[in-house]
Symmetry: D2
Subunit: 365 residues, 4 copies
């Protein structure tokens, strides 16, 4: 389905970096969800580049909702959010050599040269603004149901953040207000310095995002093929620069024994829980009621000022390129809110499939 | 879509570990593909448990194709493969305590106790036999188009295999004939000994699978949401015990700089290629014509003989459990062919979407 | 999705007229639905040819359920029903001239001659047995929720049955037990005589099926594209020989004025109802709580003994053909249960999308 | 999928009658299709109400394309068309009694009163403007491939147009330029007078649309469930006011014998054709290379000035209603271009599924 994700609740994404507008359509939402435009704006601010560690491109992100909302609440029909592109300087991005690490050449091969190449076109991280805006419609509704999503920069430029504490709810609440989401502000400061240092060298750095989701009921996920891990990874690998996804202890599980990796069950207040959570809240592709935990590897921004060898896809000539224009020396901290957003959308889809389209508001509405 | 994966080419999977038959329906296949039953049987043999490092359960895997094939070739209609379950000893698997690390409790929560709990029911690795058989219909057709898929046990019980060589085609051909797929047979022997050692202690081990795909054209993948990474990871996370998926250098990319991670383009014989392949053949979610490379983390088999703490989901009582019955001290080597299989199916879907349902045979048929 | 229909509740259909087995997979069913094998057998009997007005082909229809049922109830996983083809006389159906009115030539063009042409192969009405068996799993569950589906032969060979009475529930109950479903048995007898008369002349006849569905709540249907009429017609036009579908007064509405066609609303016992039902229980693609009413045109059986002009698709030669083998002089009365079946499946899908996968059993389970 | 139709080529529709903008996203288009904005404007003009026989609401339909087009051609990414609602007089459409024949009450039941009720909201025929604009992107591309779609008002207010002539291509070309599409202009004049007469009485009339499609190759359609009839009817029943769809002779086939209804095959210039076309170009759900023919019943406009009995869904009170505001005394002639549009989109989807996403432009591009 290409630019559409989800079946019960779906999102369709459109737009190009230097086109007139980008946007998203969310369909399958329960009617009656309050739509909080200030919250949407706040989420967009968290995604927006800011400060010395980000691209100088400044977008007002003045979104507008043109369908699916009436008198401040969702109608249950397709909801469309549009965001104009105001600060496009296409002169920076003429068709030229393929930027290494970017989709330029792959898109050229796929679209026979008809793609809008300006600023990465449809494959620009710019498009995530529409994703974030759309997800901002459902995140408060999930919160009202007790489902909290939070992500921190667990590692950046080789520097580790501290792990989530035992009070996940507090951690998540705190992270969701931070522009640079780390649990330890000092380490965050070191990361930012490392990013600035890379920028000063015309280079860029990557990192790892770690996400926790609280409040998911046990029993969510549709094996074989729509396991909660399958559906989430499908969404997460759509986020630009994500090159790895692991649930629970992920790749570290490969070196454990079964007796280490299995999470023993106990009872507490009449409910089962596990005393460890190496499996990240998922057994056999279905949630087990424990916090969902996963990590995404985010590669360093491919746009760098250093000279690189490359080709011109139109002419087939070898050349060199030093990417000009505005770009981020790191995107891991900005990708954080995108990860939260696709997580929210993917979970809404699985939950609506299971509990019906009205689930998100009823019976508590 | 739960038990169906794919849109242009789709697979629907059904069956339970101790039910009468398991099976798969593949739809959307090109008409005229030769169906090689000996190859299917061979692929099933590679999946089947064998020797001391595997469960004692022996399945003849006497599959039969009941639709979609006529005079030895696909008809273009839905193709159904059935595999009877012959060696089911249900007495081993009464409803009892939830096995830690398995789907037992999560499935109980989801299906309200109506699930077939015997031997893991629908969530048993047994079901992968149908997946493997179904994929064995398309793998030779992909090979005839020059698309080769191969996977090795890159790591098991803490022991590393050697990396793929520069002659990927030869590596893949050799791996595809091996029951325990490693590039270095001595290290493979060490892995097997480590597996036996874990088994002797009533425990189990995990590992990492590394896959290479040769011959994919540039331009495959449908961003935003059906990137080649999204679609493959969706399929891969459906494979039981897979807890992590990374493309190219994956999580290691998080510690690189952009100048290290970007793969420079050059020309060779009129075609672009990259001099490194840190991105695993994928840029922006679209193939770039280089070999596709990814790795899957496979957790240790959850069924272990050691005593574990758990609960009975029916009664809510805490108890202990030492899993009896037949089980594998490792599944990473058996999961290899399952990974190849879902990879083949996922790629067929993306290729058919792009080139039409007849692509796999025409115009070369 | 070709051989799969539905998203929340889906059915996948496979098999060929003269292959070893036909079958269906239903996915997305609520766990815990009682599965009544005697009811399934009864539904298959209603579909099966019988007596002088039907083909002499006799199928025992000895179905077996190989997945998705445990201890007599659905598990919530994919449910598979298989029906062996026992009475196949392929000698009757060598590749030969294209039978006019059948899929022979169209399938040849589509599948490049690789299709299983024997007895119509995958396009044979035989495959509807699997559809009927699969739907027989959900029809009792719908009934338990108060949703009743009934169809009568409203017209056959130019002879009209009487209309539904005001006691629709009684009509439906009576129809569901009849092998030749008419509301007036005398007119039914006339129809059967007309069918026999056509058969005696080597010819065949068609008819119209009229369906009523009681007990659907208001608010079902997902405009724009998944209106209740869209989804039902999609399913109904998959039934072989159906060439027209109309809802409510259908084509007769084209000649009415708005003041005649609109159904005025009134209140009864606190609930809205309409005093007429020209719109067949659907307004704007959404159910309004009134009985759903629709009609299907069923063309005369294309297999006739009379000589017809045709071609051989392989050679391109013009030739004549008098269809030998066993065939029905009418299928409208047999198509009745197929129409009921696809109606049940389509409604389950829309209802599960709206109310969640557990809806069919909960909260009443 | 609710507001999305199609898999290989899909359309997502959004907006409300009195919201700020309506629009559509088409995805899966081949890259490189020329986009002719004048043609799009022309198609919108054919849909727009005009003259005494239409609503006085005047929309400039000043569409704009905000994504998926670059330098006048499709990019292959999601294409979005937006149309602002400029002439909304919401004062005409306060929440009030449910208009009989409209979705008002059904939508109230479905959306719990959160729907945008103004002017029918999301269920207004107004939304078809976006459908028509979107389809106008692909109709010229289909024409360039030799696929011509044309529809005439075959009947209106009890008055018949003449049938299609033997020169279908000429008929279609002529119809596509007419605002009131009839083959016989005198009968068209009579129809218009009958519409005006109904309007004068505060009433409305319905009619029948007949469509022909030339140039479809044999072999299109994906039985069982995605037959060309299933997919088209799915799309057609999404068009407001369509209450019946029949292919070929449709309901008249019910009264024929097999020897009358079967279309004999002959050869002409090396290609098979049928000497009659009672089956409308479809056998067994697959095109046979003959012109595709189908008819849609369009009910009379439900909005009438005459007083009708109804209820207020909010209060449950019985009341009467004479619909004020601007409305059409007939919509059959305006629905014509909508039928053409959904036909084009549905056929694109089936053709792309079969021939790949690039089919529409390659190899002729």
């Amino acid at each position: 389905m290409k630019n559409t994700f989800g079946t019960s609740v779906s999102i369709t994404l459109f737009g190009e970096s230097h086109g007139p507008e980008i946007g998203a359509v969310i369909d399958g939402l329960a009617p009656g969800l309050p739509v909080d435009e200030a919250f949407i704006a706040g989420q967009l601010t968290l995604r927006r580049p800011a400060g010395r560690i980000a691209t100088a491109r400044q977008e007002a992100d003045a979104f507008r909702i043109v369908s699916g909302v009436f008198e401040g609440r969702t109608t249950g029909s397709a909801l469309t959010i549009l965001i104009p592109n105001t600060d496009t300087r296409s002169g920076d991005y003429q068709r030229g050599p393929a930027r290494p690490g970017h989709a330029d050449y792959a898109a050229f091969a796929k679209y026979h040269g008809f793609e809008d190449y300006r600023g990465g076109g449809h494959f620009s991280g710019r498009i995530t603004a529409a994703l974030v805006a759309a997800a901002a419609v459902v995140i408060p509704a999930l919160q009202a149901k007790g489902i909290l999503i939070g992500t921190h920069v667990a590692r950046c430029a080789g520097i580790d953040d501290i792990p989530f504490s035992s009070d996940l709810a507090a951690d998540i609440t705190r992270l969701n207000a931070l522009p640079f989401a780390v649990l330890d502000s000092e380490r965050g400061q070191q990361m930012r310095e490392a990013i600035e240092s890379a920028a000063a060298q015309g280079d860029s750095v990557g990192g790892i995002l770690e996400t926790a989701v609280l409040g998911l009921p046990a029993g969510v996920g549709e094996p074989w093929f729509d396991t909660v891990e399958s559906v989430l990874s499908h969404a997460l690998f759509s986020v630009p620069a994500v090159k790895g996804v692991e649930f629970g202890d992920g790749f570290a599980l490969a070196d454990m024994t079964g007796s280490q990796a299995n999470d023993p069950f106990r009872m507490q207040g009449g409910n089962p829980y596990t005393t460890t959570n190496h499996n990240g809240g998922v057994n056999g592709g279905i949630t087990n009621g424990m916090p969902l935990r996963f990590r995404c590897a985010v590669k360093p921004t491919p746009s760098i000022a250093l000279e690189q060898k490359t080709i011109n896809p139109l002419t087939g000539e070898e050349t060199t390129l030093a990417v000009k224009g505005r770009h981020d020396p790191a995107i891991v901290h900005r990708a954080r809110i995108v990860v939260d957003s696709v997580t929210a959308l993917a979970l809404c889809d699985l939950l609506a499939l299971r509990f019906g389209t009205d689930w998100l508001v009823l019976p508590d509405a």
